[in-house]
């Protein structure tokens, strides 16, 4: 949708958008005042990020409102440099006194930190000069009654799925509008608006053997693109029902299929290993892996920062550096680390524009329907949820709590829980043998289900 057309629609809808174009301008003015104050107080360089978030969250439980929450978060953070020495401060107080005090605090700290040759603002030639129309802002009135209606539909549709649905523990509908600005003393100053809408259902199924909980949610920058409330309730209920009656399996080595809802986390571990800080602190299992094979040659991981309307889209990162489309892993070989200006200088490489993480990182491989992957797997574990923090990026050791479904001959056999799955990240990525076409767009890492050839599954 072009920006012209969307403004016409807004006018017709006759409501006050949570953030206007004017808000962007005044936030930029605010950032500039803080930068001016930093200069006045003797900073040789400075950068400021400021934000204004407005939100509404409505929770329904047992056919009635449980909570209504209105939120408004404002604040700013400043980093000042005295040569190569750095200090930061942040606050939720946006008064003039607070601007002065925050700059004083940051300058005060920078006097005591030690000179670091790699510190400083981004290199000027890396700063974004092109600001794409990313279609991130779809304003809508934040209406409690409408949110409540949708939450009630989520709840009743979940409850109607089966008599074994004990309750919809909560259904939540949320909307948020944010205006953010970033500026630095190199003259970069830009503001943006973005919106985000969520619907969520948390459902408990119960039979004589116990209770099982599962959830489902939809999230989008455009409220009209959300899944319907009824399908969110039904999906959550069906997932909880499938978890009932877990049965034991023997401890052993099995193929493991990571469901699309958790697969992005697995890709995230590899991306952490390619992070600039993990590389320069030599605390990555993928240390010095540039141009080396770290995953099956069937796998390419490419980021697409400028997709319209996507959750992870941005024109510039948190240092104002332009984002670019690029592979991190191409046919299993590392082509880029995930770098900021600081980690880039440290590693003697240019920043990759990833100071705020990867943007719409997408699994590119031969994608298959999940049913075909299940047939290929034959007998094994389909993991629906993971628990705990048992991932060590320094060593690549992976051991996490898991629950999901036991698959026999490509078909659902029964639920399983209280399992651990364990392996080594390097081996898991080298032996990733199938990629689902069920791409989950709810994360900034976009992947479908992922099949790992073999992991150790420990069961009770």
């Amino acid at each position: 949708m072009s920006s012209m057309k969307s403004s016409e629609i807004q006018a017709a809808m006759d409501f006050q958008e949570p953030h206007t174009k004017q808000d962007e301008e005044s936030l930029k003015g605010f950032v500039q005042r803080i930068l001016d104050e930093a200069k006045k107080q003797g900073a040789s360089a400075a950068e400021v990020a400021a934000g204004d978030d407005i939100g509404l969250s409505v929770v329904v439980r047992s056919g009635d409102l449980e909570t209504v929450e209105f939120s408004r978060d404002r604040g700013f953070g400043i980093t000042v440099y005295l040569g190569n020495k750095k200090g930061s401060s942040s606050t939720t107080d946006i008064s003039d006194d607070s601007i002065r005090e925050s700059v004083e605090a940051a300058v005060g700290i920078a006097r005591y930190t030690e000179p670091d040759p790699f510190s400083g603002l981004a290199d000027p030639d890396r700063l974004a000069t092109e600001f794409h129309d990313l279609d991130l802002y779809h304003p809508r009135a934040m209406d409690v009654d409408e949110a409540k209606e949708n939450a009630l539909i989520i709840e009743s549709c979940a409850q109607d799925v089966d008599s074994k649905i004990f309750k919809c523990d909560s259904s939540r509908v949320g909307s948020a509008s944010a205006c953010t600005a970033y500026g630095n003393s190199l003259g970069f100053l830009h503001a943006e608006r973005e919106s985000r809408y969520n619907m969520f259902a948390d459902v408990i199924a119960k039979n004589k053997d116990g209770m099982q909980r599962d959830y489902w949610y939809s999230t989008n920058r455009n409220a009209d693109e959300l899944e319907t409330p009824s399908s969110i309730g039904e999906t959550a209920a069906n997932r909880a029902l499938l978890k009932l009656d877990p049965r034991p399996i023997p401890t052993g080595e099995y193929p493991v299929l990571f469901d699309r809802g958790i697969a992005s986390g697995l890709i995230g571990h590899l991306i952490s290993g390619l992070g600039g800080r993990a590389q320069y602190l030599k605390s990555s299992y993928l240390l010095d892996s540039m141009n080396k094979q770290v995953a099956t040659d069937a796998l390419t991981l490419r980021e697409h920062p400028h997709l319209k309307g996507a959750l992870g889209s941005r024109s510039y990162d948190s240092e104002g550096v332009a984002t670019t489309e690029k592979p991190f892993v191409e046919h299993g070989i590392v082509r880029n680390y995930v770098l900021s200006s600081y980690s880039g200088r440290h590693l003697d490489m240019p920043t990759t524009g990833n100071a705020s993480g990867v943007c719409n990182l997408t699994v590119e491989a031969t994608l298959q329907p999940v049913d075909d992957i299940l047939k290929q797997m034959g007998t094994g574990l389909l993991v629906q949820s993971l628990m705990g923090q048992g991932v060590n990026i320094v060593t690549g050791d992976y051991s996490r709590g898991a629950s999901g479904y036991w698959i026999v001959d490509g078909e659902f056999a029964h639920a399983v829980d209280e399992l651990t799955i364990a392996g080594k990240l390097d081996e898991m990525f080298m032996h990733m043998i199938a990629f689902g076409d069920d791409i989950d767009l709810r994360h900034s890492i976009r992947t479908g289900s992922l099949l790992v050839e073999s992991m150790t599954v420990a069961a009770n």
Partner: protein, 481 residues
């Protein structure tokens, strides 16, 4: 003493904003006018400073301030909540009016607000951020870095961090609370990477509590954390693959108490039990753990990370017996859930900040000491795992399933601690695991003060603790079958 605690936060939070007692009364009266059961205003200011060293340089440091008010109106099971990052009379009016929009029914009375009550105090009020000079903080970080590197040539990277916060809260609510609390909190952590024959392993240690930063400068307190982190990294350099499957597990004292936090603690929080969604729902008076287990939640231990003179609803910090000799005695409550369950708050109503709603949360949760000699406990195991340090855990309170992930553990073979093993996740079912506790040591320890507990997106500082424990069967998530 009580004046320091009471008047300071109230004055500090309200006086500058020109909000008087009569203004508070007026606002509360109007919040209650649409028949709200209870109205509450929570004023908070929060200051934090942190200093970090890596690669031998104090590169990074930051200061943050937040300040605001949260207004909550409760009607039966319903809450309306709004907050603002500005403490001003006009903003307060908007905030309270948004919060009360929830309520269409209820009793709606304002209790006589007591003149500010004196509470017992479990920590001092001094500001840890200013208790030590910036020069001294920087010097300490560098000293610890050099100390750690000198302990062993295999130490390759050292990261050290000091964080201090100073928080003031003042609560005014329609059920008669007008109370303030000043809460200092400090945390120190050391993380090292050691290398041997191309293999790299990490070791971590840390601690702190509700006191000032001078503690870190006493004796060898700071060096002890460095020594511990280096020791752990060196141990892990020799770790072998962990076993996989159900087996006997011995858990060391102190921080492994994260087991209790996950396996039973969350399941005993009042909200889940009011809603009947916990694996421990409706089980008061039943045997839910081995008779060797007595587990308490105690906010009253002086200067501990999880301690609270009062909770975030103004209820004084308390000591609550959760499980006594294996029998479930009670849940941890905030006001909302205890009122709906016909009981009273146990002082466990906590919130991350003014921008979050309170709910039942743990403070310092631990198991009391038993009678066994820890050495005897290890000797009693033919084959199993001895786990002494953990990264953290997670629980699904509905199924009771929980995990916790070891960062330092050993095999036990024929009654002896043998090779260190690679980090592994342990998984079990809370109610089942507690019935399988077969030995409890006489060596109760509380953790050193690093825990952050997350629930529904809100983080709060907590403490855990336990003596050495033996669990007869728990699934170990290694790779070696």
């Amino acid at each position: 003493m009580s004046d320091t605690q009471m008047e300071n936060p109230k004055n500090q939070l309200l006086a500058a904003s020109d909000i008087t007692d009569s203004k508070l009364e007026d606002l509360m009266g109007r919040m209650m006018s649409r028949q709200v059961d209870r109205g509450e205003l929570y004023f908070q200011s929060f200051r934090n400073e942190s200093w970090a060293l890596e690669e031998g340089l104090v590169k990074d440091a930051g200061f943050s301030v937040s300040r605001g008010v949260g207004a909550r109106a409760i009607s039966g099971e319903k809450s309306g909540f709004a907050y603002a990052d500005d403490i001003r009379p006009d903003v307060l009016e908007q905030t309270t009016s948004a919060a009360k929009s929830i309520a269409k029914q209820g009793s709606g009375t304002v209790a006589h607000v007591e003149s500010d009550r004196a509470l017992p105090m479990f920590y001092g009020t001094s500001d840890p951020i200013t208790s030590v000079s910036q020069e001294d903080k920087v010097a300490l970080l560098s000293r610890v870095d050099k100390f750690a590197r000198n302990l062993d040539p295999r130490v390759k990277e050292v990261s050290v961090r000091i964080a201090a916060t100073h928080e003031s809260v003042y609560i005014y609510s329609s059920d008669g609370v007008s109370s303030g609390d000043v809460r200092p909190l400090v945390r120190f952590s050391v993380s090292v990477i050691a290398e041997q024959n191309g293999r790299r392993e990490q070791g971590m240690s840390g601690g702190g509590g509700r006191h000032d930063l001078k503690w870190l400068f006493e004796g060898e307190n700071a060096e002890d954390f460095a020594r511990e982190a280096v020791r752990q990294a060196l141990v892990n350099l020799d770790a072998v693959d962990a076993p996989a499957g159900p087996m006997q597990v011995v858990l060391g004292p102190g921080w492994p108490g994260v087991l209790l936090h996950e396996a039973v603690g969350h399941g005993l929080e009042g909200d889940f039990n009011r809603k009947g969604t916990s694996a421990f729902s409706n089980r008061i008076g039943q045997q839910v753990a081995s008779p060797l287990c007595t587990i308490i939640d105690d906010a009253t231990i002086p200067n501990r990370r999880g301690s609270l003179s009062m909770d975030d609803e103004g209820t004084p910090g308390q000591k609550t017996v959760l499980i006594e000799n294996g029998v479930l005695k009670g849940y941890m409550h905030d006001k909302l859930n205890s009122a709906l369950m016909g009981t009273t708050s146990t002082g466990n109503g906590r919130r991350e900040s003014y921008a979050h709603q309170p709910m039942p949360r743990m403070t310092n949760t631990f198991m009391l000491a038993g009678e066994s000699d820890p050495e005897e406990i290890i000797k009693s195991v033919d084959f199993g795992v001895y786990a002494v340090a953990f990264g953290g855990g997670q629980v699904d309170i509905t199924s009771g399933q929980f995990v916790f992930s070891a960062t330092e553990a050993y095999l036990i073979e024929q009654g002896k601690k043998s090779a260190p093993i690679r980090g592994a996740t342990l998984i079990g079912n809370g109610p089942e695991i507690m019935t399988r506790v077969s030995m409890v040591g006489n060596d109760l320890e509380l953790d050193r003060g690093v825990g952050v507990c997350g629930k529904e997106g809100q983080g709060v500082p907590v403490g855990v603790g336990q003596p050495t424990l033996k669990v007869d069967e728990i699934t170990v998530g290694g790779t070696s079958t």
